[in-house]
């Protein structure tokens, strides 16, 4: 290994222009419209009249080098040697002739066996995070629970019969690297971290004191060594300190639970983007298949499917029917924990006399 050679080369982003399908190159910036042919299949029509057919397959995101090579084989066979992935980790195979679509689909089925879908008003792939496979903080396994949940929601992926797109995300701790979704699953802790005072030297004390959103961490000398203490009443179990310092262990395999949040929306379509909001908490963390999560998500989806109007995202649907109705339809109990107590809490209250009765 020659260190000198590696020393900063700062090459930057790959030259994507070499990775574009030829029809993309020819019509770059000159697209006219698109249509959805069937679930998982799109066509984009350029002003030139050129067409580009896209077949979208649901991917597990984590794969072996061999599986990557299979993907390449398919693209070589049908897509002139090009392909892409999406924001939600789906893989997209593109071809220029409509007649190529069915053969392409056949090959995908044969070689990969991945389902087609995630287009239009469907449940697309779940954005998820590392989990027990690689991160240092997880309280659950987002990759595994995603697999289990997508098994249960497969029909919603392969069909386009929801009011609008549903983006689900699933994270293995409260940091929530998978971010907001129409439906989001996160891990929730229920204790203040336990401090391993002996291991404290390795972290930077001021950072860990500063990171606590509740100002619950105080420097303290323990057995003559610099360490910290936690003010129990102040701590609200967020785990931020644990991210900063491995000696502050927040997880508890027996008491950690999952909660589900709804109504995150990032698009500006119709209504402004919104954060996700707490729907149900205290779901047990039950590997390997987390059936309770599936059950809760399905309750939400079926209420949404039944009473949502076209184009309404989950959050917009609930806004229209009212939260009381949402809790009624899903059967989730409404508790005092659902009421915000963060910095903008007052603005989440019903500051009006407008009430459904």
């Amino acid at each position: 290994m020659s260190e000198t050679k590696l020393a900063p080369r700062d090459q930057g982003a790959p030259d994507y222009t070499k990775f574009l399908h030829p029809v993309m190159v020819d019509n770059y910036g000159e697209w006219d419209y698109h249509e959805r042919i069937k679930p998982g299949v799109l066509v984009h029509v350029a002003k030139s009249g050129d067409k580009l057919f896209t077949v979208r397959a649901g991917s597990p995101r984590t794969m072996s080098a061999d599986t990557v090579r299979i993907i390449c084989e398919i693209a070589d066979q049908h897509c002139e040697g090009f392909l892409r992935f999406t924001t939600r980790c789906n893989v997209e195979f593109m071809c220029r002739e409509e007649s190529e679509v069915e053969p392409l689909i056949a090959t995908i089925g044969e070689k990969l066996g991945w389902p087609l879908g995630g287009t239009g008003p469907s449940v697309s792939n779940i954005a998820h995070t590392q989990g027990w496979l690689h991160c240092n903080l997880p309280g659950s396994d987002a990759a595994g629970s995603t697999k289990a949940l997508m098994d249960d929601l497969i029909a919603d992926f392969t069909q386009e019969d929801l009011p609008n797109r549903v983006h689900i995300s699933s994270s293995c701790c409260q940091i929530n690297c998978a971010s907001h979704g129409d439906i989001s699953i996160i891990v929730q802790h229920h204790h203040a971290p336990r401090i391993d005072h002996n291991n404290m030297q390795i972290c930077e004390l001021p950072k860990v004191v500063a990171i606590c959103p509740a100002a619950a961490i105080r420097p303290k000398l323990v057995n003559g060594k610099e360490s910290v203490e936690i003010v129990e009443e102040k701590c609200m179990y967020c785990g931020a300190c644990h991210g900063q310092c491995p000696s502050m262990e927040i997880r508890d395999s027996e008491t950690d639970t999952l909660s589900i949040w709804v109504g995150g929306k990032m698009s500006n379509a119709r209504s402004a983007p919104t954060f996700m909001k707490l729907a149900v908490w205290g779901i047990p963390n039950t590997p390997p298949r987390w059936p309770e999560v599936s059950e809760a998500v399905k309750k939400i989806l079926s209420a949404y499917k039944e009473t949502g109007k076209p184009w309404e995202r989950v959050g917009e649907w609930i806004d229209r029917i009212g939260w009381a109705k949402f809790f009624e339809l899903t059967g989730f109990p409404f508790t005092r924990y659902h009421i915000d107590d963060g910095p903008e809490a007052l603005s989440t209250l019903n500051r009006s006399a407008m009430v459904r009765l």
Binding site: L278, I283, R320, Y337, H338, D341, A345, L357
Partner: protein, 426 residues
Amino acid sequence: MGNDAKKMVMNTPMLDELESGPWPSFITDLKKYSEKRPVITQLLNQLNDSYETKWNYWQGKIINCSGYGGGIIARVSDKSDVYPDLANFHTVRVIEPPGWVYSTDALRNIADIAERNGAGIIQLHGMSGDILLLGFDDEGSLQCCEDLMNDGWDIGGSGAAMRTLQCCVGQARCEMACYDTMKTTKHITDTFIEYLHRPEFVYKCKFKLSGCGNDCANAIVRSDLPIIGTWRGPMEIKQSEVAAFIDKKGLDYVIDNVIARCPTNCISLKTATKEIEVDDANCVHCMHCLNVMPKALSPGKDKGVTILVGGHRTLKIGDTMSSVLVPFMKLETDEDLVKLTDFIDEVWEFWNDNGMDHERIGEFIHRIGMGNFLKGCGIEPDPRMIREPRTTSYIKFEELAPSRMEGEREQNPPVWNREPESSETM
């Protein structure tokens, strides 16, 4: 008393500028009246000084009738060397009749008491609704209160106490009124009159009562405990009047101003029959469609109130808007009224036991969180109390936080699977 004030020359060039123009001038009125109450000349001269210097000359002091802790806002002038009769120039707050209705006898009685004991300046009404009588010295203030009491009036609140209530005209003259605002105002005032007269709260507490969501009493932002009329179940619709309205105003007007303006889009128009249909379950009782077509639409038969909590002006956390505390409550019988005051008593108890000095209920809720407030008051949470659930994932679930320190684990079932709690409102 101000009545014996020395005559002085009125010299108010700045104030004279406020005598022209079509709007009635309190300067002109008081100037004229100064013939009867010479202290007013001193008052206007000092006011004119303020206009010249842009400076205020009043300081506060404290004076109370024996047995009372409020009701007199005492003022002493910094300029009493120049204007000796402004040395003590206090205001007496008088509890107004609910809805500000008067017989002329009653109103003349007020005028007489004001004039007899002081400067005879009357404000109808103060921003909290009281009758304000201005311009009494120490003795005059006390005698004024005495006279008021003797004639059946009572004095208002100040300091860390309940305040005089305020309500809209309600059922006395308004077809929108969903409960008896006047009666409720009197009931609350009378039940809690001690809390009004003897400041024992952590801070002031105001009620305002509006008969419907139009909130003509401006309750939602000006009171700690607004009570607003509403109904549940179907709205009353006279379809013939709907048709008549459409004929008169045109279809476009109705679409643009009624249908399109409903906040929950719950009104549908049948153009063929000129009828409307309201999806009552989604009506939020905003009053708009009733306002546009008062002849055609009226509140439903099953009337009651929504109780809110927390409104006040900007100290210390910025303006606070009240939010829903009790989504619906019947308020018809005397028992209902007692239930209401009992309920308020409980809310007050929690607030006064746990609030900090000078902390209005809204600030208290801001500090401890609405969830804790409800728990403290023993009120069941209801999704209609919120616009949306929390977005912040920092939560301390007491049920799921076994006290590890003591080594024991609670066994409460996780919420996702819990028996739904009763969500009946009182």
